[in-house]
């Protein structure tokens, strides 16, 4: 395992296909996350985000394709990799008979880099009931405990499936801060799935847009914001609409809205300069809605 080399990929998926009964959840997904990056995986509910995460980590055997974590095949991870990997599922169910503190004390023994003071501090800060068994905690409380568990193990790879839903704004900001600093300073590689785009915009270095089992877009977040825009053409100019557009929508009044991309010289298509044409920069959420709607 050569972590120092620049081409090292802690998370890698190649050609993943997976179906549930008649429904194709993944339709040929390739994904790579370089070390120290935070990849935000965006998609609507049912886009295949959780299936992709489970296949990436070897928790599900895909119909086709291959995945790797920290250089090992996802379906045959050794303990050495498992102790450096933290995965927080959407609906944690482990150890229902233990209290949060008991669970964290127990698990801490299995992780060589366990940060016990951090775990204790977060239990208080995130208001986890001290004496109640996990089975009696709310789903939000259980997910918060799992997030503490994931962070306290000081992982090299951190995978969070829709973590934001269980958190109030203060706890959410705490989590984003931890994610950002771990990635930027400790070189932790993070994959963070969500349909709440604004959470990603603070911390993500890259985004991947998963739509109907395919990755439609995977690039640097800053690039995404600078490279795409929405072009509105008045009815008299719709025939000049650029052919290469990520999405196009004819409006009821005869006008047209398109998502366009800068060319290799950084220029917008010529149609953007037509009289009456309107070019709007797109926030990430707008881009998501324009492409995935």
């Amino acid at each position: 395992m050569s972590e120092a080399s620049s081409g090292y990929l802690p998370l890698l998926a190649r050609g993943l296909w997976h179906s549930y009964a008649q429904h194709a959840a993944l339709r040929g997904v390739d994904l790579q996350v370089p070390q120290g990056r935070v990849l935000g995986l965006i998609g609507r509910n049912g886009a295949g985000k959780s299936t992709l995460i489970r296949a990436l980590l070897g928790l599900l055997v895909p119909n086709k394709g291959y995945a790797e974590v920290l250089g090992e095949p996802a379906l045959q991870l050794t303990d050495r990799v498992k102790e450096r990997l933290a995965y927080v599922p959407q609906q944690p169910e482990a150890f229902p008979w233990l209290t949060a503190e008991q669970m964290l004390t127990l698990l801490g023994r299995f992780f060589p880099h366990w940060d016990a003071p951090f775990a204790r501090e977060m239990l208080t800060r995130w208001q986890i009931p001290a004496t109640r068994p996990l089975a009696k905690c709310s789903p939000g409380e259980r997910q918060r405990v799992e997030l503490i568990r994931g962070l306290a193990s000081r992982p090299q790879v951190l995978v969070l499936d829709e973590p934001a839903a269980a958190l109030d704004p203060v706890a959410r900001r705490d989590l984003l801060r931890e994610v950002a600093l771990r990635a930027g300073e400790a070189g932790c590689t993070v994959l963070f799935s969500t349909h709440i785009v604004s959470d990603l915009e603070r911390v993500a270095s890259q985004i991947a847009l998963l739509h109907e089992g395919r990755v439609l877009l995977h690039c640097d977040l800053d690039d995404t914001k600078e490279r795409y825009a929405r072009l509105w053409l008045p009815p008299r100019h719709t025939s000049a609409a650029p052919v290469a557009a990520l999405s196009r929508r004819a409006q009821a009044d005869g006008s047209m809205t398109l998502v366009i991309e800068r060319d290799s010289h950084g220029e917008w298509p010529l149609a953007a300069q037509l009289p009456g044409a309107r070019l709007d920069t797109l926030a990430l959420e707008d881009l998501f809605v324009e492409i995935a709607a």
Binding site: G36, V38, R173, L176, R177, A180, L181, A183, G184, E185, V197, S198, E201, R202, V203, A204, S205, L221, D222, K225, E226, P275, G276, A277, R278, L279, T281, L282, A283, L284, E285, D286
Partner: protein, 127 residues
């Protein structure tokens, strides 16, 4: 300078590194950050706003290559000794470029002729 002096709007169409760079340009050009003043560390800015440290480094790096900031010997960054006062007119005009482009774009969308827009602008500038 305190890290919370920067305003970060994650959902704005402008990338966060550009927001930081733009604010540094303005604060330095306006003299609100004096030459020699220390900047908060990358970590402080990242932690204060829960943003990726790499984004902050990128903004600081660009500000350094523009000559706005200089790297201190030990660690960290400070406002470059020759900041605001020695800026040429063309450099200051370059700071206005994004706003001027936005204005031009809006005027075109409204299908305005240049003349009345320029007259109004001249008036706003007190001429």
């Amino acid at each position: 300078m305190d890290a919370t002096l920067l305003t970060i709007r994650p959902s704005a169409p402008e990338p966060i590194y550009r927001q930081i760079l733009e604010q540094l340009r303005r604060l330095i050009a306006a003299g609100q950050l004096a030459p020699g003043e220390r900047l908060p560390s990358v970590r402080e800015v990242a932690a204060a706003h829960a943003i990726n440290p790499m984004t902050v480094s990128r903004a600081y790096g660009l500000a350094e290559s523009e000559g706005l900031l200089e790297r201190l010997r030990g660690r960290g960054m400070a406002v470059a000794a020759q900041g605001a006062r020695t800026r040429s007119q063309s450099e200051r005009l370059a700071l206005l470029e994004p706003s001027l482009q936005a204005l031009a774009r809006q005027a075109q969308e409204l299908e305005m002729a240049a003349e009345p827009v320029l007259r109004r602008l001249a008036k706003l500038l007190g001429e």
